[in-house]
């Protein structure tokens, strides 16, 4: 009998953080432009120590303004999607659940497309123009969250089966609308849209967006984590969880909103990156067990690692061109999922 202790949890997180750090260093090294890690490290140290305001080495500007923000985006998106996926799998008591199953990503995509169509007709101040698409996506995601919530209620509270049905139907409907719009929209727009829909981390944002993403991630994840033990009990069934002391109604609502918010955040800035929210929780469960007190933080770190690796591949394999990161996660994710599935059944 080895119950979970804080010490063991911290060790596991430390291990994953170390792996993440290593992956980030590798990601910084590889890309369309060559980087000397020594020079980079030296300059970063100078910046941190306040001796200079920016990286001065060759291509330092490129690293600082393009590659590093992109890596940070990958970390936040990967972590958000994984935490959301873990939460939905617990909430819906369904191992096939992923962050997109309840339609949030379809809503976000629709919002982005509508924003794209509207953009030429709006006169926006320059600093806001770059925010239009993600903002539209996020607002649409929020609307979808609310709509699915109301669809998913039964007798006034969330019922997991009804929620799943409501979400799937909403996703289908929104996808149909997206298809319709894409077939009537001008074709240069469609090209941009296609990359966005596949999940793509190459978008650049103003600094504030990254801060907002990080803040949103930490707040929402903290909220979900405070219900980690409740989620453990929820896995046995709503009734049983209640008999064991879980305020099922409150936990379901809180986790639903927080996890959907995380999904909306991630999808608004990167499109729908495939498979991360589905597979990373399963992998972490396989390695660390299904106790959510461990699973949630390890899934977050694991998701960050996965997306940074996938994005590094996406931007180096056909350099100087790129492929969408969603393509990489799908190519790797699908066989991995089949493998995990077979192991489970064996």
């Amino acid at each position: 009998m080895r119950p979970l202790t804080l010490r063991r949890l911290l060790l596991q997180c430390l291990l994953l953080t170390a792996i993440l750090f290593f992956v980030v260093v590798v990601a910084l090294k590889f890309g369309a432009v060559p980087v000397s890690l020594y020079a980079l490290g030296r300059d970063l140290l100078r910046v941190i120590l306040g001796q200079s305001s920016q990286i001065s080495s060759d291509y330092g500007l490129i690293i600082q303004n393009i590659r590093l923000p992109r890596i940070i985006l990958g970390i936040l998106v990967g972590a958000s999607l994984s935490v959301a996926g873990t939460s939905f799998q617990a909430l819906l008591r369904n191992p096939l659940a992923d962050p997109y199953v309840l339609g949030v990503s379809s809503g976000a995509a629709l919002g982005a497309i509508l924003g794209l169509i509207a953009e030429p007709h709006l006169a926006l101040p320059p600093s806001f123009a770059g925010l239009l698409i993600p903002l539209c996506a996020f607002l649409a995601a929020t609307a979808t969250i609310a709509a699915v919530y109301f669809l998913g209620r039964r007798q006034g509270q969330i019922d997991s089966t009804t929620l799943l049905l409501g979400g799937v139907i909403t996703a289908s409907f929104l996808n149909a609308v997206i298809m319709f719009l894409m077939s009537t929209v001008t074709s240069s727009n469609t090209r941009g849209m296609a990359f966005w829909l596949m999940g793509n981390l190459s978008t650049s944002f103003q600094k504030g967006v990254y801060w907002f993403l990080a803040a949103g991630f930490f707040v929402a994840s903290a909220i979900i984590y405070s219900a980690a033990n409740d989620l453990n009990l929820l896995l046995a069934g709503e009734k049983e969880a209640m008999h064991l002391g879980v305020d099922v109604r409150r936990v379901q609502l809180v986790v639903y909103v927080a996890a959907s918010f995380l999904t909306g955040l991630a999808v608004s800035v990167s499109g729908a990156v495939a498979y991360v929210g589905l597979i990373v929780p399963h992998m972490m469960r396989f390695i660390f067990g299904s106790d959510h007190r461990t699973l949630l933080p390890t899934a977050a770190l694991g998701g960050a690692i996965a997306v940074v690796i996938a994005d590094t591949i996406a931007r180096t394999v056909v350099a100087p061109n790129e492929i969408a990161v969603g393509a990489v996660t799908a190519i790797v994710g699908a066989p991995l999922f089949i493998y995990l599935l077979r192991r489970r059944l064996a």
Partner: protein
């Protein structure tokens, strides 16, 4: 409540002579899927009391409202009228967490989505006693260990839940309920999937635990003989109505039971004063 037909030793009598811990007062319930339609199922006003250390059997055929009554006692359903009191507190008005500290429910099968070990499962019973997010303390671990030992499942501690037999699983589920350190222990048809030996084993354990730890136990069952053998009190239900409340000896009358269970029976009394029912075949 006592009857000279029962052979009781003095210590048993003294343990039972406390004030009622559980008070079910005129509890009724109606359920309708559609507000416009008439209610599908009703539980008519039912009342009974139970003391610490007492085992109550809620007995009746299928669809007699037994499980509904149990859910109301557990606080999971709000009664249409009446109330359930546990040591003076109205059960339904307590928060789920407080309720879980006092009432433990043992249901039949526990569907686990992801595999868990028996000790993990039992530790879940400690959830209600700590802060929402915390790691189990040494005390918690001890209590869980004890709970497993008390049901004779200490050897199952490291086994995976999906790899043990039905009877073993039932014991682990009971251990989890015990880990909650409840005042009231509720069981819904616990013997349904068990063989005879397991059934007897479970009920023997329940009787012992109720006596040792002063639990109040309420079991929903349709097993006539088990109820007769182990219950101190029987609540006889039929189609949502509580027909009678009392010790087995006073409830187990042939005509009454035949009417409730719709089958010819014969009732005898064993040497320990407990009734024994035999089902008669043929017309």
């Amino acid at each position: 409540m006592s009857s000279p037909a029962f052979a009781r030793n003095p210590s048993e009598i003294s343990r039972l002579s406390n004030d009622p811990r559980l008070g079910v007062e005129q509890v009724s319930y109606a359920y309708s899927a559609n507000p416009a339609q008439a209610p599908l199922f009703t539980l008519e006003a039912t009342s009974f009391n139970a003391r610490p250390g007492e085992i109550v059997a809620i007995l009746g055929p299928n669809a007699s409202g037994k499980s509904t009554l149990l859910q109301i006692i557990a606080g999971a359903l709000q009664p249409l009228s009446g109330r359930v009191l546990l040591n003076g507190f109205v059960v339904h008005s307590l928060s789920p967490r407080t309720r879980a500290q006092r009432i433990a429910m043992v249901q039949q099968e526990s569907r686990l989505l992801f595999p868990a070990r028996a000790w993990e499962f039992v530790l879940q019973g400690r959830h209600a006693h700590g802060r929402s997010l915390r790691f189990e303390s040494a005390d918690d671990v001890l209590i869980a260990k004890n709970a497993l030992a008390q049901v004779g499942a200490a050897a199952l501690s490291d086994r995976w839940m999906d790899q043990i037999s039905g009877g073993e699983k039932q014991r682990v589920i009971l251990a989890r309920a015990l880990a909650q350190q409840p005042l009231l222990l509720l069981l819904d048809e616990p013997t349904l999937h068990l063989d005879i030996a397991a059934q007897v084993g479970l009920l023997d354990a329940l009787r012992r635990l109720a006596a040792e730890n002063r639990y109040t136990v309420a079991i929903v069952t349709h097993e006539l003989n088990l109820a007769a053998e182990y219950a101190d009190q029987v609540v006889l239900m039929q189609r949502g109505r509580c027909l009678r409340v009392g010790p087995p000896a006073s409830i187990y009358q042939r005509e009454l039971l035949e009417q409730v269970f719709q089958t010819p029976l014969s009732v005898e009394f064993a040497s320990n004063g407990r009734p024994r029912v035999t089902v008669l075949s043929g017309t």
